[in-house]
């Protein structure tokens, strides 16, 4: 089977279990995003795949071959680092050509590949510059180009956009995705930013404490989170959680409602106090405190008619409710249930 397959991969650092018997299939040609809070083991897993860390136990199959003990270079993977990790003493040209040079490819071939990649990434005018003389976005493109030159089996990205400003980040997000689709190369992308995960991924893998919490397509995970952690982590603003009497009505320990499903309605059964209103231009976010004490966020219109300290009533459709049991696991949806509030 092609692609990358992990079977029971485990890694410890002293007493800390960074990867706990992880089973995962990364499909060939797809864009897989590892997402989770910092310290959840997603970067460790990427480094285990890359070969920069040794796997304690388990198997790592790349295109069907067990490569758990193979050297990083021989795995045929290319990595883009968070800090870019360009060679500061070399020109852009030498940075791009380094992998081919150490592989002792002929000079003409190196020059051709470097030109080709530089053209693809709009780096041609900067080939003779040192990394220090480039902007953040350009450095990022050199780092991607360096991975591209090798024609790898897969790209590994370790939070590559976290050093860029918001605008550039959105642009690079699009560029990386376009490039990956165009070349059809498998990509594994690590981020703590769920928006990046949602927008880029074919497959999202949500991590927590060295374990996989859920794997699936972005919208599947958004619509059917496996547990309360995933429900809260994926989606921004995060899902609202309510316990107590309302949850009892639904026969569960807690219910979750996404901000877009929480609507201002004088006839609604849920009372809350307005805290602040954030205006985002095309819409607004209304921060509220429920009478039962939970903080809530509702998506509102461009200019909702509420002020801080107003007491408002809220409504939500029962089929928009996520139910969770006492162990925070998701329970089956409640389609058959009548509107109770």
């Amino acid at each position: 089977m092609s692609g990358i397959v992990l079977e029971g991969v485990t890694k410890r650092f002293g007493d800390h279990l960074a990867a706990d018997t992880i089973d995962l299939a990364i499909p060939d040609g797809g864009f897989t995003v590892f997402v989770g809070p910092s310290g959840c083991g997603k970067t460790t897993l990427l480094r285990l795949i890359a070969g920069l860390e040794d796997i304690d136990s388990g198997r790592l199959l790349i295109d069907g071959m067990d490569m758990a003990r193979t050297s990083p270079a021989a795995r045929g993977l290319a990595m883009v680092f968070q800090s870019y990790a360009l060679y500061p003493h070399m020109s852009v040209r030498a940075n791009l050509g380094f992998a081919l040079k150490v592989a002792r490819r002929p000079g003409a071939e190196i020059a051709e590949r470097v030109e080709q990649v530089a053209a693809m990434l709009n780096l041609a005018p900067y080939l003779d510059r040192r990394p220090a003389a480039l902007s953040g976005g350009q450095r990022q493109r050199v780092a991607i180009g360096r991975a591209l030159v090798r024609e790898p089996r897969a790209f590994l990205f370790d939070e590559p956009l976290s050093n860029l400003d918001a605008e550039l980040r959105a642009q690079m997000r699009f560029e990386i995705r376009r490039l990956q689709q165009q070349l059809g190369i498998t990509a594994v992308y690590v981020t703590h930013d769920q928006a990046e995960a949602m927008t880029m991924a074919d497959q999202i893998v949500v991590f927590r404490d060295g374990r996989v919490e859920q794997t699936g397509a972005p919208l599947d995970i958004y619509r059917h989170p496996a547990n309360r952690f995933v429900a809260g982590f994926i989606g921004s603003p995060r899902m609202n959680f309510l316990g107590g009497a309302i949850a009892d009505d639904y026969g569960c320990a807690a219910i979750g409602v996404r901000p877009e499903h929480l609507m201002l309605d004088p006839a609604g059964a849920l009372a809350a106090t307005v805290q602040t209103v954030e205006h985002l231009g095309s819409e607004s976010l209304i921060h509220l405190r429920a009478q039962s004490g939970e903080d809530l966020i509702a998506r509102g219109t461009q200019d909702p008619d509420v002020r801080p300290d107003d007491i408002v009533r809220l409504r939500f459709a029962p089929n928009a409710v996520h139910r969770f049991d006492a162990d925070d696991r998701a329970m089956p949806a409640t389609d058959a249930r009548q509107e109770v509030i």
Binding site: M79, S83, G136
Partner: protein
């Protein structure tokens, strides 16, 4: 404002005073080397008003075996420093980029070997060297000085290498560089200022080392330290000639220091990270 200016003046004065105090023996030797033996011991001492002469230099270069000793010094200091770097670079690499739980302990242990007074191991080493035929050999002395300077070099390079972002070396590894290529084409150029200053330090230490060189070298392998010492023994004390010999033996190190200076201060403009 005024107090600030006064403070600065005081600090400047102190700095000049300290520098002068440190440099004084050297300047005094320089002056003495141009005096006659009589003026060299005259009291009260004369600062600049004496008959300047180059006779001491002529004498030293004529009857002492200066060039023989110079070549020995270059071979011993250069050889031992090259050996030190060849061992300390890999050692520092492993401690900086592949540390284990024992790395700190190893570092301290290495430094602890410098706390042993050389004279404490003189007899055993002398006997070993006698049996192995290493007495009065440049190789033997270079080996010993390399062993003595290795801990300092490993320690210095270790702290220097830790400044190099590990991700850059990992990038080289992903790019398929062998360990050798990683060290030579990526780490060494990035750590060049540190490697140059380490080399300069161990070179100077080896150049000036006089306990082992005086005791283990007799004729063939005698470096400049022994050459200088020779002026203070058999025929009595010749201050002026001793000073001239000292100045002559400092010149090569000054030259190397000056040549390395660019490397020492250049530093690489990092642009790879952020």
């Amino acid at each position: 404002m005024r107090t600030r200016r006064t403070n600065r003046a005081i600090v400047t004065l102190l700095a000049w005073g300290a520098s002068l105090a440190i440099a004084f023996p050297l300047l005094w030797a320089l002056l003495t080397s141009f005096k006659t033996e009589l003026e060299a011991v005259a009291f009260p001492p004369r600062f600049l008003s004496f008959d300047w002469t180059l006779a001491n230099y002529r004498n030293v270069l004529a009857d002492g075996d200066y060039f023989h000793a110079l070549i020995n010094s270059v071979v011993i200091a250069g050889g031992s420093s090259a050996l030190v770097l060849a061992l300390a670079v890999p050692a520092a690499w492993s401690m900086a980029f592949a540390p284990t739980r024992r790395t700190r302990g190893i570092l301290l242990w290495m430094l602890s070997t410098k706390m042993l007074p050389p004279v404490g191991v003189f007899i055993p080493i002398f006997l070993f060297y006698r049996d192995w035929g290493l007495l009065d050999s440049r190789f033997g002395i270079a080996l010993l000085l390399a062993a003595g300077n290795l801990p300092i070099a490993a320690w210095m390079l270790f702290s220097n290498f830790r400044e190099v972002p590990g991700e850059i070396l990992e990038a080289a590894r992903m790019d398929g560089a062998s360990l050798w290529q990683e060290v030579v084409t990526v780490l060494a150029p990035l750590a060049l200022p540190g490697i140059a200053s380490t080399f300069f330090l161990v070179f100077t230490l080896a150049w000036n080392e006089s306990f082992w060189t005086l005791n283990l070298a007799t004729t063939e392998a005698t470096p400049l330290t022994a050459f200088i010492a020779a002026f203070s023994s058999p025929q009595g004390l010749f201050w002026a000639r001793l000073s001239a010999a000292s100045i002559l033996s400092i010149i090569p190190v000054l030259l190397i220091g000056w040549l390395c200076q660019r490397q020492l201060v250049r530093g690489l403009t990092f642009g790879a990270v952020k």
